[in-house]
Symmetry: D2
Subunit: 436 residues, 4 copies
């Protein structure tokens, strides 16, 4: 695990005790938030698994705990006793280096440990971890601090997954239960779509090493871009309804070959969670706030790359490259309709003066960039090296975060990635164009 | 539903008020027992579904309630209000006549209603049903009494299924949690296997119309049997270990063609739930009382018809016909290691003087008889007619009940049926032979 | 293989040389007919496999040859050299005792040996076999004669399969090529349906040992039948069109549970090979004589047991038991629209005075009898014992032969069997009724 | 189709009649070569389809003919009569714009038209096409000439596919028949692996518009490359055996996540077509020249991107980007072990002075570049626009051609593409490294 410390670019503490305090506060905040997010859920809700791609909420709570136990406490806390000998098998997600593990599609069968026992597990690990942060000798601290920071970012990722998976689970229920009740909002109007021009040329992207970032965000490197334009806002539900009304889902010529095969085999004719309530085209969508009428002003959500790409072709545009979005967001503060705003649904933006709007928050934006290694990337040795590198195949990069992404998780260089057919994440799109 | 009343052979009450009292007492006892059986289960345990063939415990509790609501309260209780408008969709099992229903393999995704809400549902229906039993006018009573009796037998079937499905669920958990803790018993010895001879000839089987029976148990009719012999006890785990040691699972010549394909595709090499703990052949089996060492004296359990048939061929014998087992059990009291004995595991028998032992209880006994209609059988009109008749294809009859079968459910004519590859039920076998 | 000689009931020759002559003539006739049946086929037609259930024509020609080589020449012809060392692997169908074999669904990938080489193989084996028949010493002859007779009946079965599989293959081709061209016939009218009554009681069925029969046709034994009636003719296409017009394929209540699942997953709405040419209900069917308009007078063909059973329920009747059909056909000469008539399609019958018509020929008639062992049946030792016994599970018996069944293959006791969902065979049905 | 003419970059003829002669000669040569390649095949070989990814040889011969008929004769040859009305359905591959088509996985069921009829079809179209080339008025010629050139390149692609698919088919046959017999060659030795350095920087890739190229090869554009090194030769079988001996196929840490799942589900432990003849590690491989001992000096072939990537990681290197390979090959003549050399197997190279060896020929080289649109790419309107653009998802680029690639098909900018799990093509790899 020593090598693992090199695998993430950690902030070097000016004063080590400040750093301990900062991480301890961060630890408490992140760990506490996970449990707050789980509060509206019954033990039954926390246990069920709606599909192989999703995990039970209880599993998310336990797996993030296992991460701290396995990568920090086991190695750096002398005398630490694992909470339960079987949990390494049950709550290892995909780390081949750490041993055999429970089959992913069977996570929903783990009715034991109970939700209550998982909370006990969290307390057990939190207590030991907090003591370790305070008591660790300097040498150990310097090694474990980057792992602790990694663990916090890991848990933030799982907070988003927890909400995303809960929505998928509740959407399978004919009762359409809400994760949280909320009054019906009258949505604001989406500003008109305009284009933001960029002249291209040699630009730099990737993380520059200051503060935390995942290994896959670097090395920072040069990329040559042709002149391009980005839409001022994401594609809205209203835009999408126009695409549907124009026969978008029935016109093979708009779709990639794999995409069209999926449209036909899956019977897609609208974004995930949409249902047509009547023949007159009134659509509702399942959300964390229950089933609601589709708001034409809000960004479209829960579309796959396949759909995003078809839409862009229909609109006479294309999907952005990840470098184009990174250039556009460079220097902007991380702000927007993220988890911290506690809205839990994408919303219409307000428009800004000189940059594309909503580059952070609301919906993850699909790019045309296949998720791959940056020049010079090499995955670190050891289990932590499995975090990102081994997924660099057949997935596409998304940028910008969504309404359920913890704010502290994002940076201009942040790369999310999913398969082109997946659409249960909070995924939408923004159009781009070539400029000649 | 009026026609449905003809579809079951109901006891005609000597005194109608006695009958009301008898059924009311039965109702309370059966309904109460379901909830007692669910008591050891957490909300998580009650919600999960381990495979498409099994159902969550919560679903069993709700579906049996829906049966009374749908087939009795809706038709015979003026002013009855359904507990929830969506429950007819959620808790209808397979009755095409009653409308669309939730897909069976997705029952485990119903985290709502919660286990607590299902208990509320039960109380709601029980209250209305009990009032109806007391208050129903005579005409209505005469129509609903057979449906009430049917509902009780239906619920008893689901009590066995609940325990069977819970065992399957807990067996998926690497923690091997017990449904109920119990001390380790020192099993008694199985008596030596002897043979009980019957001369065959023209015999009568099927229900004679006195007391409750399912439609598929009649009409009573003549069958011609060749002389045969039945083993004095079921095949034991010890017997089965000898079959395994002799390469039973590796010898294609012992198996039906479909069976051999299943052995190979599923990798079968022992009964379901068995695990070899070490190379020295120590086997354990998951049971309702946790994972336990296999007792060589107890009847083998959780074997498919495919396996039972192969074993019989290996033993130079055959499986019995259902008529042979019915003739053997005729006139015997319903007694044995059934649910009432509360042992929850098959046990070695004691041997009896003049009849095969353990014809009731311990394990369901596979027969070579395909489940089909008796001569003159015609399924009744209406939804109740879907209870049995539509399953008369590709399944095999089992006889005698198991250690988790409610005692009151059984009769000499009782026909259970499953597909030949299924083995999560408490299924074993008894050998038979032709006599020349 | 010595034991195998007991496994079939062979005719004992009055004069051994007569028997050799009889079998030699039979051999030449059967072997020659296989090649005549293949003559209309191109090398391409002979090689392709349209589904896992079917085999290429070339494979049928080779496998039947392998049967004689493996079970007779290898053991009884001193110095016999196998035609090719790999053919035992390539052309063994399902005999586990004879070793590993080529996977069934991959038979269509065997472009080599070519069709011409397979004919060479046939010549090689025929020459050796004919010499053996003439030259075998008496001891050997007595052992091999029953195997030779078995081989002839085996090849006759494959003649029917060859035609059945060729029809399935040609039906996959959008060009609808005919196996053989033939003028359009004006079909005769089906006689009105009447009922033939039988009083039931104790009857005997099964082969009595005189002449050839398969092991599964015996032992002859007593069966008790309730009074019944049989329809005078098979169900016709016209009858079936009425069933379809009445919504037969849309009414769940008519179908067995497994059947309804199949109707929905497969989208069945008519017999196999039927296509609706226009919205006005004009149906055509693919046949060995090309695609033709459905003749309402002819027996319906290419329906599964699932469909036959649903039809019978719709008609207020039921499928016959196999014993009922055997009693009805007992004593009748084997005559009808069989392969010998060279019509290759089911035809309307003419009606007869005192027995149900068309009990032989036109279409195989589904029964409600699961294919299982007769009382006292025990499969013979050795490879020949795999011929029938291991298929006694989940299949249903059919009786009477079809328009592509070689005449000499049939007897009153002949039992054909297929799975209830299969319908590429020439299968139809005749109704039966209980008499009270 | 008019727009389609813009979709390829056609050479503008200095003298139009020269151009007609050039294309006529090219047409005759390409069409003739297809038939020469099919000569060793029997009608059976030409008909079978070994998997959904492959097509029958007969289908390749017909489909390439259909291409000329559909995109040229139908539009530009007045009075042209289609050879057969159903062929547009049968031989359209994937052009949604041209209408419905026969399902790809069912191409092997088309036993009709026969191989002979397909050759008739070719003659019919060739005659009409040749007449058209001579007789077309200038206006039509200017429109059809680029389509004709496209058709020739299309047919060259199918020549490679034909051989590739034939190898796959013959490899399914336990007889291991050779496409062509050839004496066993003593392979020459592979030169030692050295590294060719490139300083990176801003480079140009993509087709510059002179001569034919597919739409996906342009527009030519700038790319910024970091300094890199390329191996002097492809990875050899000997290299691969070392990877295998080091447990390459058993070490999860070497594999992408999707790759490891495939290794386990498919049971991969060597390249496709390899078989271990004995426990001592003697490997043979099926080739177009029959099953042969693996030559350690020759480039490894029939490996997937998944395997190539794992090998590169094991070797401490990486796969090249497509731009790196294009830069390396720029300016080199198209020469190497291509189809024109008629060797039909990859061979060891000889080494060259100043460039990496074997950049053309022997094996297609996997790159780490996902197949996607170049900046400014837009697929042309109409059916021809379906040629490449709709496959730009989830596939990876390969460069350089193989021993079965027609020489005239290649250019420095040529992009081949397949899914990362596919390995029935003649695919290998060359290592690359970052230079710091």
């Amino acid at each position: 695990m020593q090598q693992a410390t090199q695998t993430i670019t950690a902030a070097t503490p000016a004063h080590q005790s400040d750093e301990r305090e900062r991480l301890l506060a961060g630890f408490r905040e992140v760990r506490g938030r996970s449990q707050i997010l789980a509060e509206p859920l019954s033990p039954e809700d926390m246990t069920a698994q709606s599909m192989a791609d999703a995990s039970p909420a209880k599993w998310h709570l336990a797996h993030t705990t296992w991460f701290f136990e396995t990568f920090i406490l086991r190695d750096y806390r002398p005398g630490y006793r694992a909470f339960h000998p079987a949990y390494n098998f049950l709550f290892n997600s995909y780390y081949e280096s750490v041993g055999e593990r429970h089959a992913r599609p069977r996570r929903g069968l783990l009715t034991r440990p109970s939700a209550a026992e998982v909370l006990d597990y969290r307390r057990h690990v939190d207590t030991a971890l907090e003591a370790l942060v305070i008591e660790a000798p300097v040498d150990a601290w310097l090694q474990l601090a980057p792992l602790l920071e990694l663990g916090l970012h890991h848990e933030m990722q799982h907070q988003e997954l927890l909400l995303t998976d809960v929505l998928h689970l509740l959407a399978q229920n004919p009762l359409s239960p809400a994760y949280r009740d909320a009054p019906l909002q009258s949505g604001s109007s989406a500003p008109p779509l305009t284009w933001w021009d960029h002249d291209g040329g040699l630009v730099e992207i990737g993380h520059d090493g200051a503060g935390f970032a995942y290994d896959c965000e670097g090395p920072r490197h040069s990329v040559f871009l042709q002149p391009f334009a980005l839409a001022s806002r994401p594609v809205s539900n209203g835009d999408w309804l126009a695409f549907m009304a124009d026969g978008g889902y029935e016109n093979a010529n708009l779709w990639l070959s794999d995409a069209w095969a999926t449209v036909q085999s899956e019977g897609w004719r609208a974004p995930l969670y949409w249902e047509e309530e009547a023949a007159d085209g009134l659509w509702t969508a399942m959300t964390l706030l229950g089933r609601r009428q589709v708001d034409p002003q809000a960004p479209v959500c829960h579309v796959s790359l396949f759909e995003a790409d078809a839409y862009a072709r229909w609109a006479g545009a294309r999907l952005p490259k990840e470098a184009e979005l990174e250039v556009a967001v460079a220097g902007l503060p991380v702000a927007g309709n993220l988890l911290g705003s506690d809205v839990l649904m994408p919303q219409a933006g307000t428009g800004t003066a000189d940059r594309p709007d909503q580059l952070y928050g609301d919906v993850w934006e699909w790019t045309q960039s296949a998720y791959g290694p940056y020049p010079g990337f090499r995955a670190p040795e050891g289990a932590v090296g499995e975090y990102n590198g081994k997924f660099m195949c057949s997935q596409f990069v998304l940028r910008g975060g969504s309404c359920v992404t913890p704010d502290a998780q994002l940076r201009p260089s942040y790369r999310n990635f999913f398969y082109p057919h997946q659409r249960w994440q909070f995924t939408g799109l923004r159009l781009a164009k070539d400029r000649s």
